[in-house]
């Protein structure tokens, strides 16, 4: 460690704490205070509003689907990127980071262009089979998958690099085929990275707003997720319900982070 003089140390601490306080802690605390300003009534009122509970259920359903899909694809793509050589690998790797840099609103618009039922590339074809993508759950799940895609991959790839393929080769030489090697050797070694990626994805999926707003059509009672309800309630001057719903979203996110902090063993990165 570099020796830092005591005044500098204190200055840095105050700077960091102040920054976090004004940017994160205080605003979040205010939302919590607003929620509980008249005891539990705001929260119970919100939870007895069908618009809110319906949105919460929809949000949960979409987030779980998106996480499951991203889990399967995320782990497969990570393996592909680390363990195999193929043409176009760098392009794939760069594309995976795209959702981090592109605004979710743009993502929503792009999906709308491809899958809408009237003029999209695939939309009319899919709708003729009786499914609807845009203004319905499939489109919302797709949008959520898109924005959360890099989270699992970026957790798993470095760990795969670090463990190398020695253990996998040893397993093969001992008679294990590819699936057995994956389930018995690879997965246990990347377990914590996967758990961490899943929790981050879940938190991200629950909070997605922009992309979902565009592809869902924001139809009250049908395709309105929790974040969309927060916006709608706020604009309708039903602030207290907006705060209560926000509080629930914050609560779940913090719960996710706490679960991870407890789950992840200290010595395993």
């Amino acid at each position: 460690m570099v020796d830092v003089s005591t005044p500098t140390k204190w200055a840095l601490r105050i700077l960091a704490l102040g920054y976090i306080f004004f940017l994160v802690a205080w605003p979040v605390a205010l939302v919590v205070r607003e929620t509980f300003s008249d005891g539990l009534t705001t929260l119970t009122d919100a939870l007895s509003d069908d618009q809110v509970t319906g949105a919460l259920q929809l949000t949960l359903m979409i987030a779980v689907w998106a996480v499951v899909i991203n889990l399967v694809f995320g782990v497969s793509i990570s393996l592909l990127l680390v363990r195999y050589e193929f043409p176009g690998k760098r392009v794939l790797s760069a594309l995976i980071d795209l959702p981090l840099s592109v605004s979710p609103v743009v993502v929503g618009l792009a999906l709308l262009l491809v899958y809408n039922g009237r003029s999209g590339w695939f939309g009319p074809g899919i709708e003729s089979t009786g499914y609807r993508v845009i203004f319905d759950s499939p489109g919302m799940i797709m949008a959520t998958c898109f924005v959360a895609l890099p989270l699992i991959i970026r957790e798993v790839v470095p760990v795969l690099h670090e463990i190398g393929d020695d253990q996998e080769q040893a397993a093969r030489s001992l008679g294990a085929n590819a699936p057995q090697t994956f389930w018995r050797i690879t997965l246990p070694s990347i377990k914590w990275a996967v758990v961490y990626g899943v929790v981050l994805s879940l938190a991200r999926s629950l909070g997605e707003f922009g992309a979902v707003k565009i592809v869902s059509g924001n139809i009250t009672g049908r395709t309105q997720t929790a974040t969309l309800v927060v916006e709608a309630k706020y604009q309708n001057f039903q602030q207290s319900e907006a705060y209560a719903t926000s509080f629930l979203l914050i609560f779940v996110s913090i719960a996710c982070l706490i679960v991870v902090a407890f789950l992840r063993p200290k010595n395993e990165a």
Binding site: I163, L174, A176, Q180
Partner: protein, 327 residues
């Protein structure tokens, strides 16, 4: 023959790692693949195990053409230089892995694991994780794990390369005894000629992707096929246009025999029981000579003294190819 390799070629990009390798490795013996690092030994071993594929050529194991078989169908045991232990499993689970994959009954697995851990002296560590073992213990566990599946051949890639000198020496003696006990066809890679000479029944010398010579340790040492093999197996010096070992040169203080090369001692170094001389000949060559301390004292050698050098009777002498190699 247990392993037959014919016409094997392997390139990485435009780098030739193996160049038309043909070799047969005998059943039940301990064979060393010996050569300088980067020579292609690991590549050859990995191709035998199916962990790498050759560009052309065939590999057959116990008469079965294995060229196209995936590693899990070859029934070979492989021991890696850096152990490749399963970090999340206990020692016992590591050893049991191959048997569990083969769906053997539980009691049979437990019994076999017990027996193998006894064989590698790790019985009291069966419930530990590999991270709680020393390097030598980890490698013995890896060996037990490879032996558990009763492989047709056991392949070891520089198994003791990552260990310190003392443990290394113990383990290679132990490997030799273990091989005599288990008698499975074993091939191990090493770049240490002492290790190969001490442990192996048969040595395959590999350099720059080619097999330089195959033979017993004695054959290789006494009749090296070329300069490379000779210099790789031990120290070499040149005397009168021929390569020979420094301890195979006789030193005289008077010109007794015809053809003796005259020179003066330019350096004299005493290391333990031996004395190392550098003799500057009248032709301008530097010759290294090794003799025992007692012998040196009985001849009364000192720096600057004039001596006459001749190859000892029965010495391995081959015409030096240095000049042709350089040209």
């Amino acid at each position: 023959m247990s392993i037959d390799i014919t016409g094997l070629n392997k390139t990485f990009g435009d780098f030739v790692a193996l160049d038309d390798v043909n070799v047969s490795l005998p059943t039940g013996q301990l064979t060393a693949l010996l050569g300088p690092s980067g020579g292609g030994k690991s590549t050859l071993l990995r191709i035998i195990a199916g962990l790498d594929t050759a560009d052309s050529g065939t590999v057959s194991i116990e008469g079965v053409d294995a060229t196209k078989l995936p590693p899990q169908k070859r029934n070979v045991g492989f021991v890696f230089q850096h152990y490749a232990v399963f970090k999340h499993m206990t020692v016992a689970k590591n050893v049991a892995f191959g048997l569990e994959i083969r769906k053997r009954p539980k009691e049979e697995i437990a019994a076999r694991v017990d027996e193998l851990l006894k064989l590698v002296h790790l019985s009291q560590f069966s419930h530990r994780l590999p991270s709680q073992l020393s390097g030598g213990q980890r490698q013995r566990m890896a060996l037990a794990r490879a032996l558990a599946v009763e492989p047709t051949v056991l392949l070891l890639d520089e198994p003791f390369g990552a260990l310190d000198a003392k443990v290394r020496k113990e383990l290679r003696e132990w490997l030799r005894r273990l091989h005599d006990e288990v008698a499975v066809t074993t091939v191990f890679v090493t770049h240490d000629q002492e290790e190969a000479l001490e442990v192996a029944d048969e040595i395959v010398v590999i350099n720059e992707g080619r097999v330089e010579q195959v033979g017993s340790p004695d054959e290789l040492y006494d009749q090296p096929a070329n300069d490379f093999v000779m210099s790789f197996l031990g120290e070499v010096t040149t005397l009168g246009g021929a390569s020979l070992r420094p301890h195979d040169i006789e030193v005289a203080t008077a010109p007794h025999s015809a053809g003796a090369v005259e020179g003066s001692i330019s350096r004299m170094l005493r290391i333990g029981f031996e004395v190392r001389l550098t003799v500057l000949t009248v032709d301008g060559d530097e010759v290294a000579v090794v003799l025992t301390r007692t012998h040196a004292r009985s001849l009364g050698l000192t720096e600057g003294a004039t001596v006459w050098l001749t190859p000892a009777n029965g010495a391995t002498v081959i015409p030096s190819m240095r000049a042709s190699l350089a040209g």
